[in-house]
């Protein structure tokens, strides 16, 4: 059953953003599917974006987000600073931002 507040669900649907809701041991997150990324900055054009919704959201704000696949900068071929930590969710290793 959906855990997303009605306001958020309506917003995402109105923007035609495809999303999935996941609950892993009480940690709730939404995955925005196949989102376009800024052109020419990364080595990938699209990625799934995981946003963990903290307890108390929307009174509390999400902290950080996670990407799959992992991205590197086109300029230099490195992970962006501090975006090199893995986070396990849904059996996959996400890139923490």
């Amino acid at each position: 059953m959906s855990f997303l507040p009605a306001r958020d669900r309506e917003y995402l649907e109105s923007k035609e953003i495809v999303f999935e809701e996941h609950d892993e041991g009480g940690q709730k997150g939404i995955i925005l599917k196949d989102r376009p990324l800024p052109v020419d900055r990364f080595d990938t054009e699209k990625a799934d974006i995981l946003i963990l919704l903290p307890s108390g959201y929307p009174d509390t704000a999400p902290d950080m987000f996670y990407l799959l696949p992992w991205l590197k900068l086109t300029n230099g071929g490195q992970y962006p600073r501090r975006a090199d930590q893995p986070f396990q969710f849904k059996g996959q290793s996400w890139q923490r931002w």
Partner: protein
């Protein structure tokens, strides 16, 4: 037998009375659109408690009124059909309200006949099982109500209570004029009248957090004769609580008794006929919901930002005034500490009042950390190691005289809102007592324009929604 009750905020109540009660002394009518709050078990009556929460007042337009006299009204029902249509699409219940200019606080046989017809219309349009409510209002603002049920033996059941909540709290219930008074409560009736004693006996009050403040609030409410109290706390009595926890003894600490169990014991032993129900859980735990929804008023006596943030939402979604109390003692590191601040606060939240988030009383970052620590201790520890969370500091200073004084301030705020002893505009939405400066302040704050809770009526009385209170658990 199910308990039915109705809550309306002051703004809607004033709109309703302005439409119904006119100088011509004739009957008028309006519809109230209501959301629902379902409590599977009312903690005191051990029955289902269904609360209806008014979200909109829809006047029957004057041009639709066919006949209006001091004892009769008839009107075209096209506005009723519109309300029924809205009720289906938004999962609402429609209440029909009209006034009795003669002052009769009961439904007449004429009302029975009219409302039967309207119920039939509702059933025809919205299907079997559709319920409607009806409310009568007298020129002095008294109300009585009932719920029409179909099918049922009698056709309708009375509303046990109608609450008007806002700067004042008014309770309307069938035996308000005739309930017997208790000798033990006689002396306070000498100050405030019998009606207050009856209101207190009728009240259902929840106390969230049983620390220094919560324990004082509980004992004060019990001695005032509040009929129904429910206590929420998930902690046990600790030796370090004994300096301020009213009712707790060393033996309770040794036995590691739950704080709420101690509270219920102490209240029962007063022998004032006060029913106190202990709930050994954090307020955000789903096991608390039925009890919370069953309350008329809540006291927030927790020092937990997450719990306070939960109550902040609850106050608006469930039209339930929350009297929130906080104490902050800030000292330096000297051997004999110097007081930097010794501030106590009583803040009332709920319809018509600025919320705790807009007042910047809740730190949402700390609230999120506290929730994370409760739900996912491993992730919390990991983030703590990376310095992404604040971590708990040393225990904060607490002195019984200040926690108890704040409890008195909070309970007196409730007494004024029920009885009005401070006169018009005597309510205080936020009172800060600066103990170290020996002065009181009443800092005002406007809602942030985009606040979904207190800046507009949108969420007032939203009641049961999924997810619960539109928030992530």
């Amino acid at each position: 037998m199910t308990i039915y009750s109705l809550t309306i905020c002051t703004e809607d109540y004033e709109a309703l009375t302005a439409h119904l009660v006119r100088e011509d002394g004739c009957e008028r009518a309006a519809y109230l659109l209501c959301r629902k709050a379902h409590a599977g078990i009312d903690p005191w009556e051990r029955q289902v408690h269904e609360k209806f929460l008014v979200t909109h007042v829809i006047p029957v337009p004057d041009e639709d009124v066919e006949e209006s006299t001091p004892v009769r009204i008839s009107w075209r029902t096209r506005s009723f059909v519109r309300s029924l249509k809205e009720a289906v699409s938004k999962d609402l219940v429609v209440a029909i309200a009209h006034n009795h200019p003669t002052g009769m606080l009961e439904f007449s046989t004429q009302d029975d006949a009219n409302e039967s017809d309207l119920l039939q219309g509702a059933l025809n349009r919205n299907g079997d099982g559709t319920r409607i409510l009806s409310v009568v209002l007298t020129p002095d603002g008294q109300m009585a109500g009932r719920i029409w049920l179909h099918p049922s033996g009698t056709g309708h059941e009375p509303l046990s209570t109608i609450r008007v909540v806002g700067p004042r709290i008014a309770l309307h219930y069938p035996d308000r004029a005739t309930m017997l008074d208790m000798p033990a409560l006689h002396r306070q009736a000498l100050a405030f009248g019998q009606a207050l004693n009856r209101d207190l006996r009728n009240l259902r009050i929840g106390i969230v957090g049983y620390g220094g403040t919560g324990s004082a609030v509980a004992m004060l409410l019990a001695r005032l004769g509040v009929g129904q109290i429910v206590l929420f706390d998930n902690d046990i009595v600790d030796q370090t609580n004994l300096n301020r926890l009213h009712g707790a003894r060393q033996a309770d600490a040794d036995a590691m008794r739950q704080k709420v169990e101690v509270a219920a014991r102490e209240i029962a032993e007063l022998g004032l006929g006060v029913r106190a129900v202990p709930v050994n859980a954090c307020v955000g735990d789903p096991v608390c919901r039925d009890a919370l929804k069953s309350c008329d008023v809540l006291f927030g006596c927790t020092d937990d930002h997450d719990g306070r943030m939960f109550l902040n939402r609850f106050a608006y979604y469930y039209l339930t005034p929350v009297i929130d109390i906080g104490l902050a003692i800030d000292v330096d590191n000297e051997d004999v500490p110097n007081i930097k601040a010794l501030d106590g606060r009583v803040t009332v939240i709920g319809p018509g009042h600025t919320c705790l988030l807009c007042r910047e009383i809740i730190d949402t970052a700390i609230a999120a950390d506290q929730a994370l620590q409760r739900k996912n201790p491993m992730e919390y520890d990991k983030r703590k190691a990376e310095a992404y969370v604040f971590g708990e500091g040393n225990p904060s200073p607490a002195v019984v005289t200040f926690t108890t004084e704040l409890a008195c301030m909070g309970v007196n705020e409730l007494l004024h809102r029920l009885q009005g002893f401070r006169g018009p505009d005597g309510h205080a939405a936020n009172r800060v007592r600066r103990f170290h400066h020996n002065e009181d302040r009443r800092p005002g704050r406007h809602p942030r324009p985009d606040c979904p809770l207190c800046a507009s009526k949108d969420t007032w009385g939203a009641g049961d929604v999924h997810p619960f209170m539109d928030r992530i658990e």
